[in-house]
């Protein structure tokens, strides 16, 4: 049995844990699952995966299915846009739930209907019940109101309003003004407000996905990464998921040619990129490589880089093969990507006839390096041991030159982190093995992004060495800084990405020159204990 701290148990076999994703069979009060939801770690969780969903999960902290259903309903635009006393109904719900605001009812008769949602009109069913209670609507009239709310029919809503106000006046439970205010609630919530049955069924799905994420995060991320391929912006989705995995301490592995997995797969208990998850590498290239590997009887676990360079590279799409190198698929050979790219660039210069000769030579001499093979080709052509020369005489100096630059093209073939991270972002959607910031002197930082997420704090302040990923300028709409601008920054280091960095107007004005996409900076600041965000106090340019 595999046991979890929450008490959940699963049968374990040689193939792994047996899990039946049947909502009727899993515990609905699993602390691991509710903790995950309340922490806002809901990327990939049904209905709660957006930035808003994550933020509201953390703020509302639902602890049972009823509250989870409420959360899903209050995230809808109806509640978010309905402003009462300068605050959305969503935030009223959150503040009332946590006793920051008192629960108020427009009229005591509404209490039994709205008690479970802290006096906030959340569900369509509640609107119908109010109409029945306040205006004495019969079932047919209540159904008309339901249709008007559900189908957003403005003309029918206007008719229902007249009827509601007349009947409420006649019933005399509330005053005319109160009746008008109550109906205005109903009208505002008409836009996208949820019916409870719908919300509850969504909540069950949310719980189920959160349950999977809490208990089987490796499998969860593998499945979601695989599924990201069908999303409109695949790389954005992959980036979010990989970053979330990093925060949960799960390392997503770069593609590895030795695995030869086509799509995202769970390999050695780690979510691992598939070959076709690399930009520019499609299924046809993957299949072609498989055919070449089989035809040439290459043992991919024991062959060397030169095997791929001479037996496979010349016969697949050049751009795809280069992308494989740059994405790190050949890193297992322990040669720098720059060097492999350079070797591939040399091979690209050969003619078809020369490549065929090199391939045949390598097949006959599996231990020979590509450099040996090219050298031998030049020798054989010069000595003309074959009836027909391998290449024209004019090619000799060119090939000899290519050979002479095999290990020294005029520049150092080392992988600068700024370059590796850039190509990984381009080809994999996120830099997996390093970050641009690794190229700079980060000794002044006292905390990594992951450590910050995990709760690091220091009296002397927090110092992060990060690469700025994105910046959003925001004009302050109220308060003493009205009209001034502030900045919201997303930044990363190798450990993970932080999307909740704030520069208030004073700091933003001072340091916005440095806070631009792609720049590497040292951020000094502190943790906002309420929101968990990083507040910038000072920014410095990072140097080598």
């Amino acid at each position: 049995m595999k046991k979890f701290s929450c008490g959940c148990e699963f049968h374990e076999t040689e193939k792994g844990v047996i899990f039946d994703p049947d909502i009727t069979k899993i515990s609905l009060d699993c602390s691991l699952t509710w903790d995950l939801i309340c922490s806002g770690n809901t990327k990939g969780v049904f209905q709660l995966e957006s930035q808003l969903g994550r933020s509201l999960s953390e703020q509302a902290k639902p602890n049972n299915m009823e509250e989870l259903s409420d959360l899903i309903a209050i995230m809808r635009p109806g509640c978010l846009e309905a402003m009462v006393k300068g605050k959305s109904l969503t935030m009223h719900y959150v503040d009332r739930k946590h006793y920051r605001d008192a629960v108020e009812y427009l009229h005591e008769s509404l209490e039994p209907i709205l008690e479970s949602t802290y006096g906030i009109l959340v569900y369509q069913e509640q609107a119908i019940l109010i109409a029945t209670e306040i205006a004495g609507f019969d079932l047919q009239e209540a159904d008309t109101l339901r249709k008007a709310i559900g189908k957003k029919q403005v003309d029918i809503m206007a008719k229902v309003k007249r009827s509601f106000l007349e009947k409420a006046e006649a019933k005399e439970i509330v005053t005319k003004e109160q009746a008008e205010e109550i109906f205005s609630w109903i009208e505002k919530s008409q836009r996208y407000s949820f019916n409870k049955s719908h919300s509850v069924s969504y909540a069950y799905n949310s719980y189920l996905t959160a349950y999977c994420k809490a208990h089987f995060p490796h499998e969860f991320f593998t499945a979601y990464l695989k599924n990201a391929v069908g999303k409109p912006d695949t790389f954005w989705e992959v980036n979010e998921l990989v970053n979330n995995a990093k925060i949960m301490g799960i390392q997503v592995m770069p593609p590895n040619i030795k695995n030869m997995n086509e799509e995202f797969s769970l390999i050695d208990k780690r979510p691992t990129y598939g070959i076709t998850n690399i930009k520019n590498v499609g299924s046809s290239v993957f299949r072609k490589m498989i055919i070449h590997i089989e035809d040439n009887e290459i043992d991919i676990n024991n062959c060397d880089w030169d095997c791929f360079l001479l037996l496979i590279a010349p016969f697949v799409n050049k751009r795809a093969f280069e992308s494989l190198i740059l994405a790190g698929a050949f890193d297992g050979f322990k040669i720098s990507r720059s060097k492999m790219q350079h070797h591939f660039n040399i091979v690209k210069e050969f003619t078809k006839r020369e490549l065929t000769w090199l391939k045949e030579f390598k097949e006959e001499n599996l231990d020979a390096t590509a450099e040996d093979a090219i050298g031998r080709m030049v020798e054989e052509s010069e000595t003309k041991t074959k009836n027909r020369p391998i290449f024209r005489k004019e090619r000799i100096p060119i090939i000899a030159d290519l050979l002479s630059t095999y290990d020294n093209p005029g520049y150092d073939l080392y992988d600068a982190p700024s370059w590796v991270s850039k190509v990984e972002e381009e080809l994999l959607g996120i830099s997996l093995t390093c970050n641009k910031v690794d190229e700079y002197d980060t000794s002044k930082s006292n905390c990594s992004c992951k450590e910050f997420v995990d709760g690091f704090n220091s009296k002397g302040g927090i110092v992060l060495a990060v690469k700025v990923d994105s910046v959003r300028e925001w004009t302050i709409k109220k308060g003493r800084s009205k009209g001034m601008t502030m900045g919201f920054v997303t930044a990363s280091d190798t450990s993970c990405s932080l999307d909740n960095i704030t520069a208030f107007s004073e700091e933003w004005e001072k340091y916005k020159q440095l806070l631009h996409e792609g720049n590497t900076v040292l951020m000094r600041g502190m943790k906002d204990n309420n929101r968990g965000s990083f507040l910038i106090k000072k920014v410095e340019q990072l140097t080598s």
Partner: protein
Amino acid sequence: MNNRWIMVFDWETDSPNPNTCNPVELAAVPVNPRTLEIKTDQSFRATIRPDDIDSEEYFTKERQGTIAWHAKQRGVKTEEIIADWKKGQSEKVVWKNFCNYCAKYEVDKKQGQWYTEPIPSGYNIIGFDLVIANRMAEKYKTKSPFSKVTKIDMMDILFMWFENLDEPSSMKLDAFRDFFGMEATQAHEALSDTIDEAELLVKFMKFHRRQSTVGKFKGAFSS
């Protein structure tokens, strides 16, 4: 805000005409656009063998003059210069390696940044080095490794600062080296020249950055 790398580069050639010369040496050094650090550890340097250097016809009067000039600058014999060039790699191989090298310094294409290639820089690049680079790109059917729009020619920048003054006496790089008190350890050796040019560029860029942050440019010319 510029994010594109600045690639300071320099050709040494066997004649002063950029349209007909054979390049004999190419060097480049990238400058980090944000920190203005000169990445000498990431430099490029290659010696190029002129195509017909093994034939007698190669040694025209003009070329012999250039070879003698190179020998004088480096304090070596002309034979040594010729031997050095003969040991070089072919023009095509060097050019392609250089293009691959520059490609590593391309930045991501994004809104407001359509040109991703490094910004070419150096001394008199518009009139000389870029002419050769464009010739090579055309000859070997490669795309230009540099930004087609932005270029920083240090000669132009220095001209704008000193055109109204008596000193320095000429617009040659050597004259500016003397004027600024820079030591010329290996003048007219491509990589050494490139690093000197990069240092000059960085000094002026830092100077410009200081000025542009204290000066009030916005609306300064409005009537």
